[in-house]
């Protein structure tokens, strides 16, 4: 008998990854724990590093990117849309600053949407784009 091997990712994650890999808007995909499974080329341009360079990121690694204040210091008190999507299983939207790989601070606007398949909540898709300086 042959070995079945590990299962595939949930189909909704596979299809979401296929989608964000071809769109021009910056986006990333997380699993149910918030670990970043994939981010696209546009997101890599904002972050300063491509997914091919970093691979998967744990939630802790991702949190190191932001949110930060204008000086680049962490703002732990600010809830992220992704956190809301993961914890409350609902879409969320917000503006905040992140730290790029080069050390600069970039304002972004973000929408996070939970992905729910037949086996339940499997992760979230997050779209973000550069915002103006009206970050609170």
């Amino acid at each position: 008998m042959t070995d079945d091997g590990p299962p595939q990712q949930p189909l909704e994650l596979i299809l979401a990854r296929n989608l964000i890999s071809i769109v021009q808007v910056a986006a990333f995909l997380t699993d149910a724990q918030g670990d970043v499974l994939f981010y696209n080329e546009a997101a890599g341009e904002i972050l300063g590093r491509s997914f091919e360079e970093t691979g998967r990121l744990t939630r802790e690694q991702w949190n190191a990117i932001g949110p930060v204040d204008a000086q680049g210091n962490p703002r732990v008190e600010q809830p992220l849309p992704l956190t809301t999507a993961l914890q409350e299983n609902r879409p969320a939207h917000g503006r905040f600053r992140i730290r790029s790989d080069g050390g600069g601070v970039v304002s972004v606007e973000t929408s996070a949407v939970p992905l729910v398949g037949p086996d339940g909540f499997s992760g979230a898709i997050v779209v973000f784009w550069p915002a103006g300086e009206s970050v609170e």
């Binding site: 299962p7 299809l15 990854r17 989608l19 037949p118």
Partner: protein, 282 residues
């Protein structure tokens, strides 16, 4: 394990003489397990002939539906065991939001589309959602997963003793991603097909047709070959033949697919186009 093709056509049954060699009935594959039980993959128009061959046999029958597109269920009303009070049939199908499987199928098996209501079937018929965890079925292990197609669609992997059959009749794993790179876990259906003794896979379109049909949930034959090679399937049977492809066109597709299969390291005899009325012993 014996695998018999009762319907290999996709989309709609065809009765053209020029298509008779490969066959015109839609998706239905019978799997005879080592311990004598029978599993039926899909209930396209090909299940009519299978049902006629089962008259008088009262072993439990399991029908595993990949999905509920019409070409995969249009033979249900003509499956003879449904009208046999002594027959016991379990219909397994994909999960979906909203109505349970029985009610979803009743949309077809009810007025005004049908003269017989699903509740009136004389046989003992049960409807079950195929679980996402592997499950035992008459001594075989069945594993299924949602795969890339339009609407909730399951692929199946049946392990019976030392033999593995994988059934991915409607599948477009190359949609939005190349099949020659990236981790295995991100390729739809790959874990079901891994090292299968026989992979039955959608190969509906030619290279020339595919640009017009991309995203419809079906594969060009070349992608099916690449997928099978990546899965290290031992044999590949291309399936779900397009209703516009006559025997000559399918012969040509077989030649081209075989060249690709050999180039990928396969033996020429390992690739076939599924043909109605044929069987494969594993």
């Amino acid at each position: 394990m014996k695998v018999s093709f009762w319907g290999v056509r996709g989309s709609i049954p065809v009765a053209d003489r020029g298509m008779a060699r490969y066959g015109g009935e839609t998706a239905c594959v019978a799997v005879d397990l080592e311990e004598g039980a029978r599993v039926v993959l899909d209930a396209g128009s090909g299940i009519r002939g299978l049902g006629a061959a089962l008259v008088g046999q009262h072993r439990p029958i399991h029908i595993l539906l990949s999905h509920l597109h019409l070409d995969h269920i249009n033979g249900l009303l003509f499956f003879a065991p449904f009208f046999d009070p002594g027959a016991e049939v379990t219909v397994w199908g994909p999960p979906a939001t909203g109505a349970p499987l029985r009610r979803r199928l009743a949309r077809y098996l009810s007025a005004p589309l049908s003269p017989v209501e699903i509740r009136d079937l004389p046989a003992r018929v049960r409807f079950r959602i195929a679980p996402s965890e592997p499950f035992d079925l008459e001594g075989a292990k069945v594993r299924c997963a949602l795969v890339s197609h339009r609407g909730p669609t399951l692929g199946y992997r049946i392990t019976d003793g030392d033999n593995v059959l994988c059934y991915l009749p409607d599948h477009e794993p190359a949609l939005g991603q190349p099949l020659d790179r990236g981790p295995d876990e991100w390729v739809s259906g790959l874990h079901l097909a891994r090292e299968a003794d026989l992979l039955i896979h959608d190969g509906q379109y030619t290279e020339r047709e595919y640009p017009l049909t991309r995203g419809w949930g079906h594969s060009r034959a070349g992608d099916a070959v690449d997928f099978a090679a990546r899965a290290r399937a031992k044999r590949l049977a291309l399936f779900h033949h397009d209703p516009t492809h006559d025997d000559g066109a399918l012969d040509l597709m077989r030649v081209e697919a075989t060249d690709r299969w050999i180039a990928a390291g396969g033996e020429g005899s390992g690739l076939s186009l599924a043909a109605e009325g044929t069987s494969v012993a594993l």
